[in-house]
């Protein structure tokens, strides 16, 4: 079958891959259920085919079917996947194996579990390279891997070669996997949702990297994503997948501007919008200060593997200060590792800060114990992200919501039931659920149970730690409305901790941006999104995958590399290692953000007007200024 290898793939006459009438079903105890129906698609050489669909639409199954990776309980029920004159689906396993990794490469959504955790990353890439190109000498292969690692801008590749998968961040790992996929120079690359687990700034980097490489390597790419914003950045053509069926297939610009199918329009409507928002932007409140966070620090110790009996300090939160006023919606945003979750634990009094104070109505919550703490907990609640794990499966819904009342010893059995039912109605849960187990509740309903449980204590301050991020857009919107209603009725103050810029944009009056354990910018909503003063904020905003016009162009603000290790925070401005505008002073002098007295502050030596003006970058693919 050597003709497969030598086949002049991608000639204009013939598509690289053609899928015809592909159907996949799942077999289970309840019989067969169709997951993909009658898929037709064509991948042309050197082109990028985007596939967009929501979770559950069958994207991943489709992507795997393209490499004949369909296993029990899934089953291909009909159709062909033709590649170079062969039907991959009927190809014997041994011949399929000769195509995989050589002609057709695949990258999945979960980079951290894609490689053997016990073998250094470089060694695994080397192993693959040597398998697909046995003629390469060990030294040559080694050099090629390191060169390619270098090409995808992995810092100090020779050293990284010997590091283990767990030592790679998600973004680094995804780069390594791109290397792994491209090192054999395949004709077709299938990239299944590869930016999904990544932060927006890192995802933007990966996206750009993939686009560059695709051009350099002349590889055809099937790019699968659930984010229209992302896929539209890279794809030439776009396929819209809805419940296992292709509903639309058209060039990206056509789809974005003239969607044919109702579902496509729905998808586009769902893409979060930050700047083309209707309605009013939330305004700062002038109420009394409810929460006053003063210069809070939190450090953890980890064991040092390189020295004897040594510990290293992880500086998770470094001098965070802000104030929240009554009736206000305050937002804290940042990417993974920025210290949000530590801050959330500090705010919810699960941990105490190493230094600094957290004052709730003037009282330092870190010093509270016993009954005082219990009393505080009534007025001060936190809502968590995961609606599945936050409530117990073995308790009835009524019992779950009643739990805080029982803990605090509020009321007798009847009073509790009345209260619980009232609050259930308030959050939009039917009273009939009172005696039911949470099994079968949707994510939104579960989150409502969660909210009801917090509300039953009638708190004054609610901290929402990624509370809505597990929900889809529609549910999110409904709950945000609920919060608004509750705020109006009960005068609750909210602190939203989130990485979701669109959500924050919609509801928060004032917003703090965190980077490496610090608030780098704190400003009111409008200033933040329209006239941000910090390069990091701008980078963040520029990387948001939207399909609207952005004031900050990605080309201008794209960040290099990844945030430094919180153990080894560089001297000077901690952002300077990635800042496109860093200059000499940044390396010596750590910029300090002014105290939060209601004005907008930013921790940057540059004044907002020395940064490139919003929406002023050149429209071409120009290098950063």
């Amino acid at each position: 079958m050597s003709n497969i290898i030598t086949l002049p793939a991608g000639t204009s006459a013939e598509p690289l891959m053609a899928v015809r009438g592909l159907s996949v079903a799942i077999t289970g105890t309840t019989g067969e259920r169709q997951l993909l129906s009658d898929i037709d698609l064509t991948v042309n050489a050197r082109s990028v085919l985007g596939i967009i669909g929501e979770s559950g639409s069958g994207k991943t199954i489709l992507s795997r079917a393209l490499v004949n990776w369909v296993r029990q309980p899934l089953k291909v029920t009909s159709g062909t996947v033709r590649y170079g004159g062969l039907d991959l689906l009927t190809l014997p396993e041994a011949e399929m194996a000769r195509l995989r990794g050589r002609e057709i490469a695949y990258i999945g959504a979960n980079p951290t579990s894609a490689l053997d955790p016990t073998v250094p990353v470089g060694h695994q890439i080397l192993e693959k390279l040597r398998t697909v190109s046995p003629q390469l000498s060990r030294e040559a292969a080694h050099k090629r891997v390191i060169d390619t690692l270098d090409a995808v801008r992995i810092p100090s590749p020779a050293q990284r070669f010997d590091e283990y998968p767990f030592q790679f961040s998600g973004g680094m790992m995804q780069r390594a996997l791109i290397v792994d996929a491209l090192v054999s120079n395949p004709k077709l690359l299938i990239a299944d949702n590869i930016t999904q687990p990544l932060d927006v700034t890192v995802a933007a980097q990966i996206l750009r990297l993939l686009r560059d490489l695709q051009k350099d390597f002349d590889t055809a790419v099937v790019f699968i994503s659930s984010s229209l914003g992302i896929v539209s950045e890279i794809a030439d053509d776009l396929i819209v997948l809805d419940r296992g069926r292709i509903v639309e297939h058209s060039p990206v610009s056509d789809l974005l501007h003239k969607p044919q199918h109702a579902y496509s329009r729905e998808l586009i409507a769902k893409v979060p919008k930050l700047w083309s928002l209707g309605g009013t932007i939330p305004q700062p409140s002038s109420g009394e200060v409810v929460l006053d966070v003063r210069d809070v620090e939190k450090t953890y110790e980890v064991r040092d593997r390189k020295a004897i009996f040594a510990h290293r300090k992880v500086k998770a939160v470094r001098g965070v200060s802000f104030t929240v006023r009554r009736g206000e919606n305050f937002g804290i945003i940042g990417e993974s590792g920025c210290g949000k979750s530590t801050l959330s634990r500090l705010l919810s009094c699960l941990e105490a800060p190493n230094s600094g104070q957290i004052l709730f109505e003037g009282q330092d919550i870190a010093s509270l114990r016993g009954a005082d703490l219990l009393a505080l907990r009534r007025r001060f609640q936190l809502l968590l992200q995961d609606p599945y794990n936050a409530i117990a499966a073995h308790c009835s819904i009524g019992r779950t919501i009643a739990e805080p009342l029982l803990i605090h010893g509020l009321g007798n059995r009847n009073e509790i039931e009345t209260k619980v039912k009232a609050v259930m109605t308030e959050v939009g849960l039917p009273e009939t659920l009172y005696d039911q187990l949470p099994v079968g509740l949707s994510a939104g309903q579960r989150q409502r149970v969660n909210i009801a449980r917090a509300l039953v204590l009638e708190p004054e301050l609610l901290i929402l730690d990624e509370t809505l991020s597990a929900l889809d857009q529609v549910e999110q919107a409904k709950l945000l409305d609920l919060f608004e209603t509750l705020q109006a009725r009960r005068g609750i103050t909210y602190v939203y901790i989130s990485h979701d810029l669109a959500m924050v944009r919609r509801v928060c009056a004032r917003i703090a941006v965190m980077y490496l354990g610090r608030i780098v910018e704190l400003a009111d909503n409008e200033t933040m999104f329209e006239r941000s003063a910090h390069p990091y904020t701008r980078a963040l905003l520029s990387a948001v995958p939207t399909v609207e016009h952005k004031p900050y162009r990605m080309e201008t603000y794209l960040l290099e590399g990844e945030p430094p290790d919180p153990i080894d925070i560089p001297p000077g401005c901690s952002f300077r290692t990635r800042c496109p505008f860093a200059f000499d002073r940044c390396a010596i002098d750590d910029p300090v953000r002014g105290a939060d007295i209601g004005v907008n502050t930013s921790a940057c030596h540059l004044r907002a007007d020395s940064l490139p003006p919003a929406d002023a970058a050149s429209p071409s693919n120009g290098a950063p200024a």
């Binding site: 990794g101 979960n110 693959k128 064991r303 020295a307 004897i308």
Partner: protein, 329 residues
């Protein structure tokens, strides 16, 4: 390197504490359970006053902590003491009632007794492990690699069946079948290597099911890991993935199983099996010592056993962290 040094320093330190605690627990236990060794040392008809006096002379009436302190000092200087009961001839003597002249020097040194018995036990243990591996590695691998299919079921049946056989019974049945009925192999006592075979088979029957199950679960779990499927899609062959990655990853839980469970089972098994077969190893020595209230031997064996367990656990953990760098220690 720094990691290795710290690892061993830390673990040896912890290990010493554990061994010391084990020694203390056993030491205390021996002194609070009913049964006064002095009656056995001196024999049944010794007058009470003589009993007391000898017990005092031997330090058996001091507070436990004082006795323990003395014992630890003695062990630290390399002396495991002398048996209460066993004469230098090796056999247990029963009561030498020479109250005036009870002379510990005439009793066998514990270190020597252990030194004599240990090689037998090691030989038995080694052969047992070899048998165990011969049975469980092929079966476990087959079961793990064909998860859900017949080799897997076979593995389940075989391990469920073997684990249900009490070693005492298996021992007796094997003696009956292989020795008494057919005369294929010798069984009771020890007069040559052949005497190790049946006891080792009993050990293997006890250990195999655990290992079969562990290997199959561990291998199957790794086949279910994303990296395995991804590896195939990345272009590596199934064989290469299994040989280079699955087995490597599967080894980590197996190492831990070996350290945490198998060695303990092996030690326990040795005791019972040696007892069944009158096999002159450590287990036999210890069981007799227990029944004879021969404290010095029991203590020494307990210390030795826990020391071995601690050391093996340390090595196993080190091997695991070397294979899988994510593991903490």
């Amino acid at each position: 390197m720094a990691f290795a040094i710290e690892f061993f320093l830390r673990r040896i330190g912890q290990g010493l504490v554990i061994v010391l605690l084990v020694a203390f627990v056993i030491f205390t236990l021996l002194r609070i359970v009913p049964g006064d060794p002095i009656r056995i040392i001196l024999g049944p008809m010794t007058p009470a006053s003589v009993l007391e006096e000898t017990a005092r002379n031997l330090g058996l009436r001091d507070p436990i902590l004082v006795q323990f302190g003395r014992f630890v000092t003695q062990v630290a200087s390399g002396d495991l003491g002398r048996s209460f009961i066993r004469g230098v001839q090796g056999g247990s003597t029963g009561g030498s009632q020479d109250s005036a002249g009870f002379d510990p020097e005439s009793r066998a040194s514990v270190a020597e007794l252990i030194g004599t018995a240990l090689p037998y036990s090691l030989q038995l243990a080694a052969l047992g492990i070899v048998f165990t591996l011969l049975v469980s590695v092929p079966l476990g691998l087959a079961a793990g690699l064909r998860s859900g299919r017949w080799p897997d079921r076979l593995g389940l049946y075989v391990s469920s069946f073997l684990v249900s056989l009490p070693n005492i019974w298996v021992g007796v049945v094997l003696i009956f079948l292989l020795s008494a009925k057919t005369g294929l192999l010798p069984a009771i006592g020890y007069k040559g290597f052949a005497y190790t075979i049946i006891p080792a088979m009993v050990l293997a029957i006890e250990l195999s099911p655990v290992l079969i199950r562990a290997i199959s679960v561990s291998v199957a779990a790794n086949l279910g890991e994303t990296y395995f499927d991804v590896g195939l899609v990345r272009g590596l062959s199934r064989r290469a993935m299994i040989a280079r990655h699955v087995l490597r990853n599967a080894a980590v839980p197996l190492f831990n199983l070996f350290g945490a469970q198998m060695i303990g089972m092996l030690l326990g098994g040795l005791f019972v099996v040696e007892y069944i077969f009158s096999y002159p190893g450590l287990g036999m020595l210890t069981i007799n010592a227990v029944f004879q209230r021969d404290f010095p031997i029991i203590q020494a064996v307990a210390i030795l056993a826990s020391g071995v367990l601690v050391a093996i656990n340390m090595l196993v953990d080190f091997a695991s962290t070397t294979i899988d760098r994510r593991l903490k220690f």
